[in-house]
């Protein structure tokens, strides 16, 4: 039995979890900073780092307490190395290094995106995975389409060329004067809206698996805002120079139509990739995979089994980091005991395609 303590601080959640054999969650603690960042309309790096510093110690203690174990019963400590905000990542990495040194436990650095993938291995009841699978990782900061042929074997098929899917939700939420984060609020508004009220542009029907949401965002803006007058534009007040929400639009209809367009873009490319590469299943992970409409449409349009994590594992958490660490050293590196990475650095921009399955040392990918 292998017990791993996972730590995740790549963005705005301070999280710690204890996971057994990469599949069983013994504890999963997340201190959310959403309220803190709502006033800024998004994650604010310096605030995030400070909040991580305050919460990391109690969050880890609680994770151990909830699991009913002491630190010395842990086999390894896993921590997110990147991608993410540098200040936030550093808090987790430095704390984990201290913990590993003090307890003489091996330390493992984990790629956050690989963590999201392994959140699928934590869903209960677990059904064995038959590779290859196509994985859509969608969140506030990421939109990635990955072909997974085996543990640790990732081929990046595409990603966003501009805004991440969650960011598009946030920006349109802002246009519609909905609170942060945009995703859940737009989904809520869309329930009572007509998804065909507006025909917003879908993805270009090209052969690539890259996504673009910038044009969709611009189309929504054109539809729902009034441009400032030339006089106002020349004025000094920034607020008057910006486009304002029209008073005669139905926020619910715009939310529903926008959500439908965005979901269709995600579903079309993912389903096409699954078909082209003979995937047995489609996996979704990340905060936006919690979107109900996305889940429905993906199942319906792809005609393949679709897996996604429970809500608590869609958003950032540390259980997925512990699970990814377990699979990395057990199945990918085939080590009896993990090699500690005490001198590792933060890697703020780190794609899955840059994840070697041979090297687990401290070199920069």
């Amino acid at each position: 039995m292998t017990i791993i303590l996972g730590i995740e601080t790549s963005c705005d959640e301070t999280a710690a979890a204890v996971v057994i054999d990469g599949k069983t969650i013994a504890s999963n603690v997340v201190a959310s900073q959403i309220d803190l960042h709502a006033q800024y309309g998004g994650v604010f790096p310096e605030l995030a780092s400070r909040a991580h510093v305050e919460s990391i110690s109690p969050v880890i203690e609680q994770a151990l307490r909830d699991a009913g174990i002491q630190l010395d019963q842990v086999d390894a400590i896993a921590v997110t190395r990147g991608p993410g905000l540098v200040g936030s990542l550093l808090v987790g990495i430095n704390y984990a290094k201290g913990l590993a040194l003090a307890s003489d436990k091996p330390l493992l650095g984990v790629n956050h995106l690989e963590g999201h993938i392994y959140s699928l291995w934590l869903t209960q009841p677990f059904q064995e995975v038959v590779f290859p699978v196509v994985i859509l990782i969608v969140s506030g900061g990421h939109t990635e389409l990955i072909l997974m042929r085996g543990h640790g074997q990732y081929q990046r098929l595409g990603g966003t060329l501009d805004d991440a899917a969650g960011e598009a939700f946030d920006k349109v939420g802002r246009l519609l004067e909905l609170p942060f984060p945009g995703g859940p609020h737009i989904q809520q508004a869309a329930v009572n809206g007509n998804p065909t009220a507006y025909n917003f542009p879908r993805a270009k029907r090209d052969n690539s698996y890259d996504f673009s949401f910038s044009g969709l965002k611009t189309a929504v803006m054109r539809e729902v805002t009034v441009q400032p007058s030339a006089a106002a534009r020349k004025g000094h007040l920034t607020s008057e120079k910006r486009a304002q929400l029209r008073t005669d639009v139905s926020v619910n209809d715009v939310a529903a139509s926008f959500q439908e367009a965005l979901v269709e873009i995600l579903v079309e490319k993912t389903a096409r990739a699954a078909k082209e590469f003979g995937a047995t299943e489609i996996f979704m992970a990340g905060g936006v995979s919690a979107n109900q409409r996305l889940r429905q449409r993906m199942k319906k349009d792809s005609e393949l089994p679709v897996r996604y994590p429970p809500l608590s594992l869609c958003t950032d958490n540390a259980a997925m980091i512990a699970a990814a660490a377990y699979f990395r050293y057990q199945h990918i590196l085939k080590q009896d005991s993990p090699h500690s990475q005490l001198n590792m650095d933060v890697v703020t921009m780190w794609g899955l395609d840059k994840l070697s399955h041979h090297i687990a040392d401290t070199s920069q990918p």
């Binding site: 800024y40 604010f44 790096p45 900061g141 501009d162 960011e167 486009a243 921009m349």
Partner: protein, 166 residues
């Protein structure tokens, strides 16, 4: 007043693709230490242009929107110089710029591109290339380049030459 002012260039892009190509042209001309400010409303083409700058300048990663993270740092393979891409939209006041480490960024020898620079106007470097993006219609955008030091006037001249040959 002459139509061609050396410190100003007023051009129209007919598509996002053209805006991107203009960015590529500018990116090829930038040197370490250069500061470029992209000002305009949401959807006016700032990020498309910045992605072009990154491409022309030689980043290995796809340049995507920095709105979520506020700062993206792309290192160029050839000489390891960093291309900083900042989005100041969510900065409420100039003092917030401290929190994203603006001083360190500006003290370095990287290329720095700002979106929503007007948010932190008082703490921006005095000399910079300022590009204003205006939405003309669905696809067309008006780009106005303004330089306020010899370096940026020179940059505009080079950009004009590479675009129009004059």
């Amino acid at each position: 007043m002459p139509i061609l002012k050396p410190d100003e260039l007023d051009i129209i892009s007919i598509s996002a693709e053209q805006t991107r190509r203009m960015g590529i042209r500018l990116g090829k001309l930038l040197s370490p230490g250069d500061v470029v400010c992209l000002s305009g409303d949401m959807g006016a083409g700032k990020t498309v242009f910045a992605a072009g700058i990154g491409q022309g300048w030689g980043t290995t990663h796809q340049v995507t929107s920095p709105t979520f993270n506020l700062v993206h740092a792309h290192r160029r393979q050839a000489d390891h110089v960093i291309f900083y891409h900042l989005d100041c939209y969510r900065l409420e006041r100039p003092s917030d710029a401290d929190s994203i480490g603006l001083d360190d960024i500006l003290d370095g020898d990287g290329v720095v591109v700002f979106e929503w620079p007007e948010r932190i106007q008082p703490v921006l470097p005095k000399h910079r290339l300022w590009i204003t993006f205006r939405v003309l219609d669905e696809t067309r955008r008006n780009l106005i380049f303004q330089g306020n030091s010899p370096r940026y006037v020179d940059l505009i001249t080079q950009f004009r030459e590479s675009t129009y040959g004059v």
